[in-house]
Symmetry: C2
Subunit: 196 residues, 2 copies
């Protein structure tokens, strides 16, 4: 997903583009860093960036070595509408965490806690890849969506860390269905319960 | 709190005891590591361990450089009974995270994600310092308490990381009272809602 260019290409060129992209996204944010700006920083033609990485979303995901593409995953989760979206989200995330992508997810979390640039990338990831899709696909007040989504993120990140990284028991051994019901219920509340 | 012996003592001796304690707790767990065993490993008299660190709980907290003493904090939070305990817990934790102890908390989380011995200490901390006190002070089924407490831990750890370490917005800027209401409600559900 994240690192597939259309062909292997020149590894040095690819790496220069990724380096320039990381710097640009961390310094300017997702919206402020254009493909053109990144290409200029890397000393290549913008067409080459598109050729290797596709669009800006895909370049961003490659730059942060994202374990999943929210553009592929979230629309499926959100498509069924607000009813049961909490359980669908947790079910989908458990599948990802228990797949080979789980290790990449853990690496991303570790990195974000050690390097401010990666924390910045994660914040940009949240706004550009998650919140916008929630607003687009779910019938919730767009003004409240960032608050609600960030509450959801706090539970989702905590579940991943406590269950899969620290392996806190009995959480680590609980049946998936119990996690999906209990934590899915939390996600549902954060998305729907009045905030005041 | 955690590192206060009754006097400064010999720093080498203190450090030897702490080293032996970390090793013993990580290898044998909280219950399996006695003060006597730790003293023998460190080549000192058990009385000296008590003299420097107090009881086993206090030695354990010193060994893991715990940012707070649950023996001082939790009874106060739990004393009011099950009603509103979720909000009381989150209110208390926010106070701790926003105090100088917050940095020690963050260091402990980082360490647990990098070093398996620290993850093990954290798991022991959870069982010996948290779950037992919940069973002692709250009127919930002791057989369900570990599951419920580990669900609470997943939300609490995630809140600390997302809000204070990654500084995810708008979570990081939300009024404390909104966090206390929304996340406190989650804690309350995890402690009281039927699990099946």
């Amino acid at each position: 997903m994240a690192r597939t260019g259309r062909r292997p290409g020149n590894e040095n060129t690819r790496e220069s583009i990724l380096e320039a992209a990381r710097k640009a996204f961390a310094e300017r944010g997702y919206d402020g860093a254009s493909i053109r700006y990144i290409a200029t920083s890397a000393g290549v033609d913008p067409a080459l960036v598109h050729h290797y990485f596709g669009n800006k979303d895909q370049l961003f995901l490659a730059a942060m070595q994202a374990p999943m593409d929210p553009g592929a995953v979230l629309p499926r989760v959100l498509a069924g509408g607000i009813d049961g979206v909490g359980e669908r989200l947790i079910r989908t995330l458990i599948t990802i965490w228990e797949s080979p992508a789980g290790a990449a997810f853990a690496a991303m979390v570790r990195s974000a806690l050690q390097h401010e640039w990666m924390a910045r990338m994660l914040r940009e990831f949240f706004t550009s890849q998650i919140v916008r899709r929630i607003i687009k696909h779910l019938d919730i007040d767009p003004a409240e969506a960032p608050v609600r989504a960030s509450l959801v993120a706090s539970q989702v990140v905590g579940l991943a860390i406590a269950r899969y990284m620290v392996k806190l028991e009995p959480l680590a051994s609980l049946p998936n269905e119990l996690i999906i019901k209990m934590v899915g219920g939390t996600v549902q509340r954060y998305l729907t319960e009045p905030l005041d």
